[in-house]
């Protein structure tokens, strides 16, 4: 019992949410990736304990100016929101999913000049515009501040691309829908048809699979969570017809990347998740 309580306390403190105090600062305190400080210090206040532990199992990512010299960064949006399982919701599966996806991506798109590590950034960071590809999870708990919304809106309309993943059921959808209606009020969310180039620009994806979380995937449980029985790939187009937001609802591509090396995780799901991920990157870098 003690470790659980301790972990929860650390997580609350780490997320920087003073109990009963004034309204929290928006978002976790992630510095921009040029920061030369120890990454553990950098993410300390925002990472949930399990993510922190995971982080320690992996080699430290190199830091320094070299980080901004690649063509592609798998950039995770560290948005403001409520906590999720004791940590910031944005950091679920972070950084292992990100790093493991990059291993696969670099192998599959062998001419892509991609940075091999994770890269998290807050929406209000002015360097956000340097990374035209964003990835977010657990957006059911996302609550963007006006400043974040403002910057993110400009980012997307200027040419940025945002992949949203790993959120389930009608309750979480309602939260995302509310956030997106505030973010991009004039741009509706629509279902992306299967003949859209995003499903064919590298791999031909013929059907939308529901990718279960690691637990349910390994133990053969149902693939859905909560009331999210049917997976959807929806999106938001800009005024020129370019897809700028892709929403993977009722599916968890991130877990499939993260546990792809585990022999108990069904290869069908990790295979599909990589195909989708590669297509997202190719589409984002060509449209």
């Amino acid at each position: 019992m003690f470790p659980v309580v301790a972990a929860a306390l650390i997580a609350v403190a780490g997320a920087g949410l003073p109990a009963g105090g004034p309204a929290p600062e928006p978002g976790p305190q992630i510095r921009n990736p040029d920061d030369r400080r120890d990454p553990r210090t950098r993410y300390r206040r925002a990472l949930p304990p399990q993510a922190m532990r995971m982080f320690e199992r992996y080699p430290l990512r190199p830091v320094g100016p070299d980080e901004v010299r690649h063509e592609f960064y798998f950039t995770r949006l560290a948005y403001s929101g409520t906590t999720y399982r004791g940590g910031a919701s944005w950091s679920v599966d972070f950084p292992k999913a990100d790093r493991q996806f990059m291993v696969g991506l670099k192998r599959l798109l062998d001419h892509l000049d991609a940075y091999a590590y994770d890269n998290a950034i807050v929406a209000t960071d002015e360097n956000l515009f340097r990374y035209p590809f964003l990835y977010s999870v657990e957006v059911g708990y996302m609550m963007l501040s006006p400043d974040e919304r403002d910057q993110l809106r400009r980012y997307l309309l200027a040419g940025g691309f945002w992949v949203i993943d790993d959120f389930w059921g009608s309750w979480e959808w309602a939260n995302l829908e509310r956030e997106l209606s505030l973010l991009l009020p004039d741009h509706p969310i629509v279902e992306i048809p299967l003949d859209h180039p995003i499903f064919h620009c590298f791999y031909d994806v013929e059907e939308i699979l529901q990718v279960p979380n690691v637990g349910q995937g390994m133990y053969g449980g149902p693939t859905s969570e909560r009331d999210g029985y049917t997976p959807h790939v929806r999106g938001i187009y800009d005024d020129d017809g370019r897809l700028m937001v892709v929403i993977n609802w009722n599916t968890d591509l991130g877990d499939a990347w993260e546990w792809a090396e585990d022999e108990w995780y069904p290869v069908r799901f990790s295979h599909y998740a990589y195909q989708m991920g590669v297509n997202f990157v190719v589409y984002a870098m060509s449209h």
């Binding site: 063509e71 592609f72 000049d113 515009f129």
Partner: protein, 769 residues
């Protein structure tokens, strides 16, 4: 000089040229020789006895030599030297007087006699009054007067001169004058003109014919050699065809006299609308200045752009202050093939920037993985292929090619050569983008593609494995002087604002370290970074054969679109690439092209149509059926077949006489073995031109050339007496031989005095007296 010659030798040099030297008393030769010999012996004998004073021994030979020379002059006189000339029989030979009756002759001229115009001076010279040219000529010749503009016609009196003909084709006039006078004993032709020739190309052939016929043409120049105060729009070099919305780049040459150092405004007018006003300052020491003006061609169709300088106070002639250029503004879509070696944000944002450009169709092919390409925007006309095309026919369908981050080792030698040919032979535009795999860093030094690069490439050790060339950050871009007026760098409508903007844009980065452009290439943008000592070249271009190539080395211009500092509505990035790509594909030839040698003609002119015909691989085709359909201003259509010119591969020529005034459309269709090779269109206008009013001062070069090549002389009007004299000794016409004495030439007397006086002075000096 000629006057001195005439004083010493009694006659003008022309007579010595025409005549033959002879001795009228050859029978005296032996007597003279005997006398001369005796005189010389006597002189030698006399001097043998005389001894010079001390120290003068070595000049002893001088007095006898001088005396011998004096004796030789006397002997020459005894032999009666003479000049044998053919002179015309009075009133039996003919002289043609060819009078320029064109509009330029009505131009006022301060120095001219009569009513103060060049034509007035002609009227006075040909009035027949005593002392006039006509009277002098008629004393010795039968005179035929001919007036010319285009071709020459006989006139009976000067009252028939109007000085209002549209153009003056001197070559054509000389030919028709000799035809008119053929069969007559012609002593020569007198040309009265200001030298303004509206068809200078024809002059050479006409002169050859006259030279062969041996007819001397004497030219009397009319008008001043130089206007005191005048400005003219001497030349306008404009593209025949541009894309709608493109920036049109036109070179305008302004000539001036008397306005050195003055700044004038050069206005560009499109259908009554002023589209640009460019201030131009005339240099103090030169009569011409070339200004580059740019303006947007916003309306589709055949547009007549007028280039004009307003009349200046004191300017003598303002009718030559305007020229018109016909530019066809098209709305077609030019195709560009973008070959990219890796997924890059630069290519994504570049494609996005030109996505909605109505006149650019960007087809892109991006290598995602080894041998896996992703093609976007292929249409039915452009054959789909994977990777880089292997056939010229596939690549040459495009007007432009963009080469992204693709290393040299990817291409076969043939593919590289094909890309060079794409620019050099096909005339396409190639844009080379900076990246970790391009230019020197991509291993292109020493390959055919190095020819395409305007930058000097170096052998660079290729980066292996995860290694990469070092990226140079914080590049501050700045326009070079050439870049400040180049259409590809125009980021705002206002040039000054645009030039300022370049230095305020977000800083970029690049892998390329090129600091030098090749000879003949032009650097447009330079870049400075704290990481490097020298300033680098960020943008440069050059011509390759018929086409052009441009290099842009920064690899992240997309930061001008995606930046916290750039407002969403800012169009800088879009404008950069649209401008650059439009410039890249402007003036790229098609398989079949047709053009006329000018775009404006006088009514009744012969318009020569010239078509170039090539196949899909842009090889010239000589066996083709080429037909031009000309739509007249009245709406009627005329078909003109074009034939292979033989002089040049793929060139087909046809001619058409344009009578109606107005705009003409030419449509050309070329077929080979029943298969359509292509169609082309062109336009021209027929209207009254004021060609003669340009370069309005007297053109001595033209008149001098005519006289020189036909054996005549160029003279001023007040030298008409000597001109008549020259004509009288002509070998042409009805002539008699006449010997003129030379023994009484003043030069002989002067020589005699000089030799004898010299002998006497030398003898006194040497103490031999």
């Amino acid at each position: 000089m000629a006057g001195l010659f005439e004083f010493l030798f009694k006659y003008r040099p022309a007579l010595f040229d025409e005549g033959r030297f002879t001795l009228a008393a050859p029978g005296w030769m032996q007597v003279a020789a005997l006398l001369a010999g005796a005189a010389l012996v006597f002189a030698a004998f006399t001097y043998r006895r005389l001894r010079p004073g001390a120290g003068a021994e070595r000049y002893r030979w001088l007095p006898p030599t001088l005396r011998s020379l004096a004796i030789a002059v006397l002997v020459l006189c005894l032999l009666q030297p003479a000049l044998v000339l053919s002179t015309v029989v009075p009133r039996e030979s003919f002289v043609g007087v060819l009078i320029d009756d064109s509009r330029s002759m009505a131009m006022p001229d301060e120095d001219a006699a009569g009513d103060g115009t060049r034509g007035g001076a002609v009227r006075e010279a040909l009035s027949g009054e005593p002392g006039s040219l006509l009277q002098l000529l008629e004393e010795r010749f039968q005179v035929r007067q001919l007036a010319f503009g285009r071709g020459a016609e006989r006139i009976e009196s000067i009252d028939q001169l109007r000085f209002a003909r549209a153009d003056s084709r001197i070559g054509e006039a000389l030919v028709s004058a000799t035809d008119e006078l053929a069969g007559l004993p012609l002593a020569g032709v007198v040309l009265l003109s200001d030298g303004a020739d509206s068809a200078p190309a024809e002059l050479g052939d006409a002169l050859l014919a006259l030279k062969a016929a041996g007819t001397p043409v004497h030219a009397i120049g009319l008008g001043r050699q130089r206007l005191e105060k005048d400005i003219e729009v001497a030349r306008v070099v404009a593209p025949r065809r541009v894309l709608r919305g493109a920036t049109v780049e036109v070179e305008v040459t302004l000539g001036q006299t008397g306005f050195g150092g003055r700044t004038v405004n050069l206005e560009v007018e499109d259908d009554g609308r002023i589209v640009n006003v460019e201030p131009v300052t005339f240099p103090r020491r030169s009569t011409a200045v070339t200004a580059r003006v740019m303006f947007a061609a916003s309306d589709e169709g055949a547009r007549e752009f007028r280039f004009r300088v307003a009349g200046q106070p004191g300017e003598e002639l303002t009718l030559n202050n305007e020229r018109i250029a016909l530019v066809e503004v098209t709305n077609r879509k030019e195709r560009i093939f973008f070959f990219e070696g890796e997924p890059r944000d630069e290519s994504k944002f570049l494609r996005r920037a030109v996505r909605f450009d109505e006149n650019l169709h960007l087809v892109s092919m991006t290598r995602q993985a080894a041998n896996k390409f992703y093609g976007i925007n292929f249409d039915e006309d452009t054959k789909r292929f994977d990777g880089f095309p292997n056939r010229r026919e596939d690549l040459f369908k495009y007007q432009g090619v963009i080469l992204g981050s693709m290393e040299a080792s990817f291409f076969t030698h043939d593919q590289m050569r094909m890309l060079v040919d794409f620019a050099a032979r096909r005339g396409g535009g190639v844009l080379l983008l900076g990246s970790r795999r391009s230019f020197s860093e991509g291993g292109f030094a020493g390959t055919p593609i190095a020819e395409l690069s305007p930058l000097v490439l170096q052998e660079v050790e290729p980066a292996s494995g995860e290694g990469r060339p070092e990226l140079i950050h914080d590049l501050q871009l700045a326009l070079t002087p050439q870049g400040r007026s180049h259409p590809a760098t125009l980021l705002r409508d206002d040039r000054a604002e645009s030039n300022e903007l370049w230095s305020t844009l977000p800083r970029l980065s690049a892998y390329q370290r090129a600091t030098e452009v090749k000879a003949g290439a032009t650097a447009l943008v330079k870049a400075e970074s704290p990481m490097v000592r020298d300033s680098l070249i960020a943008m440069a271009h050059h011509r390759i054969g018929r086409g052009r190539a441009i290099a842009f080395t920064p690899h992240d211009s997309w930061h001008w679109q995606m930046s916290a500092d750039i407002p969403l509505e800012d169009q800088t990035h879009e404008r950069l690439w649209r401008q650059l790509l439009r410039w890249l594909v402007s003036y790229v030839p098609d398989q079949v092209e047709v053009e006329t040698d000018r775009d404006r003609f006088e009514p009744g002119s012969t318009v020569t149509l010239r078509a170039m015909v090539r196949d899909a691989a842009f090889r010239e085709v000589n066996r083709a059926q080429v037909t031009a359909a000309i739509e007249l201003p009245s709406g009627a259509e005329v078909e003109v077949p074009l034939d292979w010119s033989v002089e040049r591969d793929g060139e087909f020529v046809g001619a058409f006489v344009a009578g109606e005034r107005g705009h003409y459309r030419v449509g050309v269709e070329a077929r080979s073995e029943g298969e359509l090779l292509g169609v082309a269109a062109s336009r021209f206008t027929v209207d009254t031109l004021n060609e003669e009013l340009f370069d309005a001062a007297r053109r001595d070069s033209v008149l001098g050339r005519i006289a020189r090549e036909t054996g005549g002389r160029q003279v001023e009007l007040d030298e008409m007496e000597s001109l008549v004299e020259d004509l009288a000794v002509s070998r042409e016409g009805t002539t008699v031989r006449e010997a003129r004495d030379l023994w009484d030439m003043p030069i002989l007397f002067l020589l005699l005095v000089a030799f004898l006086g010299g002998e006497w002075a030398v003898r006194r000096r040497l103490g031999m007296a």
